[in-house]
């Protein structure tokens, strides 16, 4: 796997994981049970 490919995989998978992870952390902080 060349460096360019590794960069773009890290960019997209890492970027999306960061967004989902950050939002999940906020959601879990506010967690709680359903009605």
């Amino acid at each position: 796997m060349d460096a360019e490919l590794v960069f773009w995989i890290a960019f997209f998978v890492g970027g999306y994981s960061l967004v989902v992870g950050t939002l999940l952390r906020i959601a879990l902080k506010n967690g709680g049970s359903e009605d």
Binding site: M1, D2, E4, L5, W8, I9, F11, F12, V13, Y16, S17, V19, V20, L23, L24, I26, A27, L28, K29, N30, G31, G32, S33, E34, D35
Partner: protein
């Protein structure tokens, strides 16, 4: 947390596994992913927020939510949305049945060639042709999908859906991660990953890439389907709308990355030639999955375990999305006074009976996919119009009441911009239909014509408009109903 699990299960469907990899590879890899990210922010996230707000505030299914947000005169819009999503459900249960069938056959060793195949054909082709021509099998597995889903929905939200979807989502993610990791380690898989991730920058100037990205996002995230609107009815009243909508939209694409790494990595590592890989990607969702992938996995070491795991992932993704559509029908019936169990049995019976034509004819299934798939864009437009009618700034203020992340003016702009996006996407689909069928585009009896869409949408539109008063009067009241607003 339960709402997030349910909603992500709803969004992650078979399209993440068989459509996203194909379209991403075809339309510029990383450039397509950039376009997808923009489409998430302009179309999916704003619309998911609208749906969440409508369900959460009205505490009613789509018909009641549209009545309370858009006014009694526009209750028909909720009816239209319900018919479009149920129109999809009626053939989707057949597709879920195919996935279950392939899992069962793979798990019992039936997807490994054990004899000669006729010349000019492959094991995958023969297996698919024999299955699809056998109505006992296609209807039988369709029935399995319907009976299982009816049982889940019959048992209620906590005892049924939440319990099953939690297991399904975890199992799906684990299987996809394991198979994607395995695919990435295969020699030659880097070629497939390049197709997926490395941008062809020139493609960003290609209008088609943007149209494909918006279409993929509209179909894959569930935005505009009305499904999140229904799940939001059962969520806490103060659930964080902005955060949850973001999680749903971005998780959907993230899961798509893993599925695409699995499909494209395997394809390019195992395909005998690059031309074969191209041919597989051009063979459509069903051709790629049920023919080419069957043939390719059969040649791999460890096929006995990879094949059942792949089709199990596909079945889990398919059935969890089917459950969401089924729940939409059930909740809306419950709003008309049905008990959940009776409503589930009615929806299950209808799903089985109205799915039979799709189980018997792949052309009929293709027609329904075409008519209601494009119809989803109309549902998305109606959702945005409901919020515009309700007051987009008022809606934004209500979203911000419960959200840790404050939604800015960009959301208001996106909602006002959605009708323009709709017009462009919709016109493009109509243009394609006319271009591809210059002599028959008007013919309502042609499978993929504009005429068949116009006829079927027209019938539904006339029916829901005629029933508008009945729907507005009969759907039960929610917490917003008594606090009259403009248009009531």
């Amino acid at each position: 947390m339960a709402i997030i699990i349910a909603a992500v299960s709803m969004a992650v469907g078979t399209g993440n596994i068989w459509r996203f990899p194909r379209v991403a590879a075809e339309w510029g890899g990383g450039a397509f992913l950039i376009a997808v990210t923009v489409a998430l922010l302009i179309w999916a996230v704003p619309l998911l927020m609208c749906e969440f707000l409508m369900g959460s505030r009205s505490r009613l299914g789509n018909i009641g939510a549209f009545r309370d947000f858009m006014g009694r005169k526009n209750t028909w819009a909720g009816g239209f949305m319900v018919v479009v999503t149920l129109g999809i459900m009626f053939y989707y249960s057949v597709v879920a049945g195919w996935c279950i069938r392939y899992f069962v056959v793979a798990a019992t060793g039936g997807l490994v060639p054990d004899g000669e195949v006729a010349s000019g054909t492959t094991f995958g082709q023969e297996n698919w042709a024999a299955f699809i021509a056998n109505p006992l099998e296609t209807i039988g597995y369709h029935a399995v999908a319907v009976i299982f889903t009816t049982t889940v929905v019959y048992q209620g939200i906590k005892g049924g859906l939440e319990r099953v979807l939690k297991v399904f989502l975890v199992a799906l993610l684990v299987i996809l991660l394991v198979l994607a990791a395995r695919a990435v380690m295969l020699p030659g898989s880097a070629a497939g990953l390049r197709f997926l991730f490395v941008p062809e920058w020139a493609q960003l100037l290609n209008a088609r890439v943007w149209l494909e990205a918006f279409t993929q996002v509209a179909w894959s995230t569930g935005a505009g389907w009305g499904l999140l609107m229904v799940y939001a009815v059962y969520a806490r009243k103060n659930e964080d709308i902005a955060v949850n909508s973001g999680i749903i939209a971005f998780s959907d694409v993230l899961v798509g990355f893993f599925a695409a790494a699995l499909v494209l990595g395997t394809l390019f590592a195992v395909a005998p030639t690059p031309e074969f890989a191209d041919e597989a990607l051009g063979s459509g969702n069903y051709g790629l999955t049920f023919i080419y992938i069957v043939d390719l996995i059969a040649t791999m070491p460890g096929a006995w375990i990879i094949s059942p795991l792949f089709f199990l992932a596909l079945a889990l993704a398919g059935v969890s999305s089917f459950i969401a559509m089924f729940e939409l029908g059930t909740t809306n019936l419950m709003n008309f006074g049905f008990h959940r169990r009776n409503a589930a049995v009615v929806v299950g019976t209808l799903a089985f009976l109205l799915g039979i034509p799709s189980a018997l004819s792949i052309d009929f299934l293709g027609n329904q996919d075409w008519v209601w798939g494009v119809g989803l864009l109309i549902s998305g437009l109606l959702t945005a119009l409901a919020i515009l009618k309700y007051g987009v700034d008022r809606a934004r203020a209500e979203i911000n009441e419960t959200s840790d992340i404050q939604v800015g003016q960009w959301w208001t702009i996106c909602i006002r911009f959605i009708p323009v996006v709709f017009l462009v996407l919709f016109s493009w689909w109509i243009y394609q239909s006319v271009r591809d069928n210059p002599d028959t585009w008007w013919n309502p009896l042609e499978t993929y014509s504009t005429g068949t869409m116009a006829l079927q949408w027209g019938i539904v539109l006339v029916l829901v408009l005629a029933l508008n008063r009945f729907l507005a009067d009969r759907v039960k009241d929610g917490p917003m109903t008594k606090g009259d607003h403009d248009g009531r």
